[in-house]
């Protein structure tokens, strides 16, 4: 695709603007995009990289904007108790300071993770062996509970009873693990 501004270079940035239900597609090369950057809220910085885009994603998040709009009280800047990284710092770097930041900034993080990872926001892959056992069980129990509900809705009570017994035995196992762990 060729840039619609200069009609020369290949387009590197593709936007879809929807203003009052009216959809416009914009395809620009990096040079033209830079010239037009103010139009696209990409601040005046030269050359945008991933971190700027990430910051962009976070800034338009309404849950983040609300607190700063209150002019009467001085809001304490949200910061991580472990590494003392502040939220503005994270925005600037696009990287966290420590593992605890994920907990500290979780309210801001969720919508961003969804956008970065195609709508996903929870882990579905490998689990470390040392904490694996219980977590695997709990995930399985959760899945069984879902299918139990489905069975009840479809009035498949025999099957539901089986699943219920299975859940019970797994829960006993889980309780046993916890005691054993102590």
């Amino acid at each position: 695709m060729i840039c619609q501004e200069c009609n020369q270079r290949p387009a590197a940035l593709h936007f879809t603007k929807i203003v009052n239900g009216e959809k416009t597609e914009v395809n620009l090369c990096e040079v033209c995009a830079q010239e037009k950057s103010e139009m696209f809220m990409f601040s005046g910085q030269s050359g945008f990289n991933f971190n700027n885009l990430l910051a962009g994603l976070l800034k338009i998040d309404p849950s983040f904007q609300k607190p700063s709009q209150s002019p009467f009280q001085q809001e304490e800047v949200l910061h991580c108790g472990h590494c003392s990284m502040t939220f503005p710092q994270f925005l600037k770097l696009g990287k966290f300071g420590c593992a605890h930041c994920y907990e500290t900034f979780k309210d801001q993080l969720q919508p961003v993770l969804r956008r970065l990872h195609g709508g996903n926001f929870s882990h579905n892959g490998k689990i470390p062996k040392r904490i694996g056992g219980d977590l695997h069980l709990r995930k399985q129990i959760d899945e069984l509970k879902v299918s139990l509900q489905e069975c009840i809705q479809h009035e498949e009570f025999e099957k539901a009873a089986k699943i219920r017994d299975e859940i019970r035995s797994m829960e006993r196992k889980l309780a046993g693990n916890v005691e054993g762990g102590k």
């Binding site: 990284m85 966290f96 593992a99 926001f121 929870s122 882990h123 470390p128 040392r130 904490i131």
Partner: protein, 361 residues
């Protein structure tokens, strides 16, 4: 140093060996990002914390080892010469970020260089497995084995909801980046690549040119990798990538066949002209070298050129990078000197091929 001896030292297994589908897929890489639970991420960590991490890894190496992958060597960034670092970057064993911006960094390497573990890069640990040809599941298995080994000694930062915690939220979850390097001259010559790249992007995968900035691909070599690391299992991520890569392989093969049918003599002409440039030039820029090497490799794969080893592209693409040329020359070279060196190295390497054939006869 003789070229043969230099090659022996310089070439890692992914460059010299042939893997599955190696007429199109040059290499497969799996990278896993991990962090120690108790230390701050490299974004903020102190010099002392960085030192502790390296010390822990050194200790780990002394006390245990992974028999399967052989002995590992630990190289510290601050103890390496700039040229040495550059060569490791050009071989894809360490990232430019580790070489340039991580003074407290280090890397663990196996002898065949299939496995490298970067320490204190963007994350504390980055496990990387680099295999020749298309070997996604083998590479994933190897990476998992190394991860299991490390995990039995190190407490990694892990969250039930978010998975493995990484310094950048783009890697959180599995921390995996699976990538496949492909030589796609057929799709470029038939002008299909511009249409294919956006389609691949829509599937949550990224296409990059090797060494190229932006979308420009040097030597028609592209790297396809996953973007999403959260919410999908490692196996699913590799399977999705595999699906797209197999599609690309079959499209590239049919593009090559179509070219043979429609413009056989033109293609043959192009291949042999490029071979002529490589065998005879005295000054060659990296761009031209990459283009000619791609043509010659296509010529080998399509049977126009016989009796030349396939890995010549993989090898020379890497060996003609500035860092390698300077290492071969034994010191700093100015850009125009590099172009002369590059031409000489390529001529010499091609001569080795023809001597090998004579020897066999």
């Amino acid at each position: 140093m003789s070229l043969e001896h230099f090659l022996h030292q310089a070439v890692s297994s992914w460059m010299s060996e042939e893997g599955p589908d190696s007429d199109i897929v040059l290499s497969t890489r799996i990278r896993l990002a991990r962090n120690f639970e108790q230390y701050k991420f490299p974004t903020l960590f102190s010099h002392e914390e960085a030192k502790k991490i390296i010390a822990e890894m050194e200790q780990l190496l002394k006390t245990t080892s992974l028999q399967k992958f052989g002995p590992m060597e630990l190289l510290k960034i601050d103890e390496m010469q700039p040229l040495q670092k550059r060569v490791l970057v050009e071989k894809h064993l360490i990232s430019p970020h580790l070489a340039e911006d991580s003074p407290d960094g280090a890397v663990l390497l196996t002898e065949n260089e299939e496995i490298s573990i970067m320490i204190n890069e963007e994350d504390h640990i980055r496990i990387q497995c680099l295999f020749p040809g298309l070997q996604l599941s083998n590479a994933l298995q190897a990476a998992n084995e190394i991860d299991d080994w490390l995990e039995s000694h190190i407490q990694f930062a892990f969250d039930e909801k978010y998975g493995y915690l990484t310094s950048c939220p783009t890697n959180v979850g599995t921390g995996i980046r699976a990538s496949v390097m492909m030589h796609l001259p057929g799709l470029i010559l038939t002008q299909q690549m511009n249409r294919i790249i956006p389609a691949i992007n829509q599937l949550g995968l990224v296409v990059r040119g090797i060494y190229g900035e932006g979308s420009e691909a040097l030597g028609n070599i592209f790297q396809i990798s996953n973007q999403i690391t959260l919410g999908k299992s490692e196996e699913d991520i590799c399977r999705d990538l595999m699906g797209v890569v197999s599609q690309l392989i079959s499209q590239e093969r049919s593009a090559r066949e179509a070219l043979r049918k429609t413009s056989n003599i033109q293609l043959e002409d192009r291949v042999f002209r490029s071979l002529g440039v490589l065998t005879n030039s005295r000054i060659i820029e990296s761009k031209e070298a990459a283009r000619c090497l791609s043509d010659v490799r296509l010529g080998i794969d399509m049977g126009y050129i016989v009796q030349m080893s396939k890995n010549i592209l993989n090898e020379l693409m890497i060996l003609t990078q500035p860092g390698f040329l300077q290492q071969y020359a034994g010191g700093q070279l100015r850009p125009h000197e590099r172009d002369i060196r590059r031409a000489a190295l390529i001529r010499e390497r091609l001569k080795m091929e023809s001597e090998k054939i004579k020897g066999e006869e």
